[in-house]
């Protein structure tokens, strides 16, 4: 099965059923299917070939869903990118995968213009919510393009299930993101496994505030359409009261969270047990929920199943804890998701005894095919498995098991910081800091924060005679980085600890900061 068949199947089965709700707009499966067909025609009319990459850099909306499925229906590969991504990084991603199409929106035209100017591969730019500006070559507004009479196109085969479906870029320690390659088969495997353990049925109504450019948010869309559920689409979690009202009004049954959102919800005075009788389940992943928050959530949502989960972009999801086990194992992330395996290995690659810390390894049909055109990085994480034709994924995360086989996240092997549930590579932020004239040295670290998990902090040494202040540093970063990567605080020092070869010892700055917060 290919992913776009999720939609054709559900449209055949439930044509009048509401698939997506966005504000006042209610879009049925039939409507969605028609819009997707038109989007695919727009792409094909503009020369789309099987396997062409389409970068989608838009806020959560019906149009984003249309672009994803339209790309697949036209035989393409979609690459969802966070809409707060600035021009340089957007251009990097486009260039890295030589994307020919960029899908954007009116509000982001400045970014799009700058990125396209740096991206010779882009032939077509589709504006989902307005008209194309005259100064953006190859640009077309979606509505006008969809309104054109489609040219007679030869019949077309979009491909088969082992074809590449999606490229999702993930931050890495090197400071440059890597494109995780997922085939249709990978996605079907992951979506089936997850919706099985979540006990999803077509009657589920999910409310998602998570970005569709993040696989956690993306799969809310994919699983909804696969099962014929309904998805309430929110652009972000900005006004908690609005979200809570919607939970009640729309009789939402499923609410995916990250710890930052849970922390904000739990601060609200108005939350009382029993306010959401229809809420069948809440999920958490991307970072650990503090046990105190898990307990508070259980008190406030007594009839709601709480799923603690863990995963990484390279395989979508690895583990989940059955809600009935939460009370007995509150800090565990559970066991391998259905039809997959997860185990902990030592330095020699041998399985660890319960209690010993080692690296988590994942095996299953959801494991990525590799990083796009980056064999070296791929070879570092995908290793031979049980059979000659397969690869297993070394997660780079440290875990231990208990006597019953429940898994516990211990820490990361690398220096990636998780803030608001998103990955932040210190090197990526440091690279941006060095672009600011006046900064001589920089070390980016994480500092514990009750809402963010970890807050990003820039520790900098100014060049002689430089007089920049924290506000300027933060503004500079905001101009080049996604929102969640921008330092919350800046500390100025006269020097940073170094190795004998003059390399900045970021880990020392980091551990010192952690020690200080523990005092």
């Amino acid at each position: 099965m290919r992913v776009e068949q999720f939609l054709s199947n559900s449209a055949a089965r439930y044509p009048g059923k509401i698939a997506l709700v966005e504000g006042q707009r209610r879009c049925s499966y039939r409507d969605l299917d028609e819009q997707v067909t038109r989007f695919a025609e727009v792409l094909r009319a503009r020369g789309m070939q099987r396997g062409d990459r389409v970068v989608i850099c838009t806020e959560n909306s019906v149009e984003t869903v249309v672009a994803i499925f339209g790309t697949l229906r036209a035989g393409g590969v979609f690459s969802p990118v966070n809409p707060t991504t600035k021009a340089d990084k957007l251009a990097f991603i486009i260039g890295n995968c030589r994307a020919e199409v960029l899908v954007t929106q009116t509000r982001l035209l400045d970014q799009a213009r700058d990125a396209v100017a740096q991206s010779p591969s882009i032939r077509t730019c589709i504006i989902v919510d307005g008209e194309a500006p005259a100064d953006l070559p190859g640009a077309v507004g979606l509505e006008s393009a969809a309104g054109e009479t489609p040219p007679a196109l030869p019949s077309f085969d979009p491909g088969i299930d082992i074809d590449l479906a999606m490229l999702i870029y993930t931050s890495g320690s090197t400071g440059f993101p890597k494109g995780v390659m997922m085939t249709h088969r990978n996605i079907v495997h992951a979506a089936t496994s997850i919706s099985t353990y979540l006990r999803n049925t077509p009657d589920d109504i999910i409310l998602s505030v998570l970005p569709m450019s993040f696989d956690y948010g993306l799969y809310q869309v994919l699983m909804t359409i696969k099962l014929g559920m309904t998805l309430i689409v929110e652009k972000a979690f900005v006004f908690p009261q609005v979200v809570l009202n919607k939970l009640i009004q729309e009789k939402v049954t499923g609410l995916p969270l990250v710890p930052t959102i849970a922390a904000i919800l739990l601060q609200l005075q108005i939350l009382k047990p029993g306010m959401f009788p229809n809420l069948r389940y809440i999920t958490n992943t991307a970072a650990a929920l503090p046990p105190a928050h898990i307990q508070r959530l259980q008190e406030l949502f007594p009839t709601t199943l709480i799923f603690s989960m863990y995963g990484l972009t390279e395989c979508k999801r690895c583990t989940y804890l059955e809600p009935e086990q939460l009370a007995a194992h509150p800090s565990s992330v559970g066991k391998a998701i259905p039809n997959s395996e997860a185990w902990v290995v030592n330095e020699q690659g041998q399985p660890c005894k319960p209690g010993d810390v080692g690296e988590l390894v994942i095996r299953g049909g959801h494991v990525m095919q590799g990083y796009w055109e980056n064999q070296e990085a791929t070879d570092r994480v995908l290793k031979p498995g049980r059979y000659p034709w397969e690869k297993v994924l070394y997660t780079g995360d440290l875990f231990r098991t208990d006597q019953e086989g429940y898994l516990y996240f211990v820490g990361r092997k690398d220096d990636i910081i998780k803030s608001r549930g998103e990955k932040v590579a210190p090197k990526e932020v440091e690279n941006v800091l060095y672009m600011l004239e006046g900064i001589r040295e920089a070390a980016v670290i994480g500092v514990p924060d009750p809402i963010l998990g970890m807050a990003i902090k820039a520790v900098v040494v100014l060049a002689d005679g430089s007089a920049i202040d924290a506000q300027q540093v933060i503004r500079h970063c905001a101009g080049h980085l996604e929102d969640f990567m921008v330092p919350k605080t800046v500390e100025f020092r006269s020097e940073l600890p170094k190795t004998s070869t003059g390399k900045i010892r970021r880990s020392e700055v980091q551990s010192e900061a952690l020690r200080l917060t523990q005092q």
Partner: protein
């Protein structure tokens, strides 16, 4: 005091949420949400700033777009919270 509300709000928003455009390009009635200028942690910072600067308490049910989504709405909300009727007369 009343005259200085809008400038203070615009200054706060420009300093904390706007990296690209200048203060001048944000219209008083422009939605911060639609402009992508504010997110969940931004709202928390805004509420903290309002409580600290204007000595008010913002209730959970008052953290809604109608009160906080534009310079105009924030200013109107503040004026409602600060009207003499809500202040205790000090003898």
């Amino acid at each position: 005091m009343a005259e200085s509300i809008e400038p203070a709000i615009r200054q706060f928003i420009a300093q904390n949420f706007m990296y690209r455009e200048g203060i001048q390009s944000l219209r008083d009635n422009q939605s911060l949400l639609e402009q992508g200028l504010i997110d969940s942690t931004g709202v928390l910072e805004l509420v903290f700033y309002l409580e600290k600067t204007f000595a008010i308490t913002v209730g959970d049910d008052e953290v809604i777009p109608e009160n906080l989504d534009s310079v105009q709405q924030i200013s109107s909300y503040l004026r409602r919270k600060l009207t003499p009727a809500s202040q205790v007369c000090v003898a």
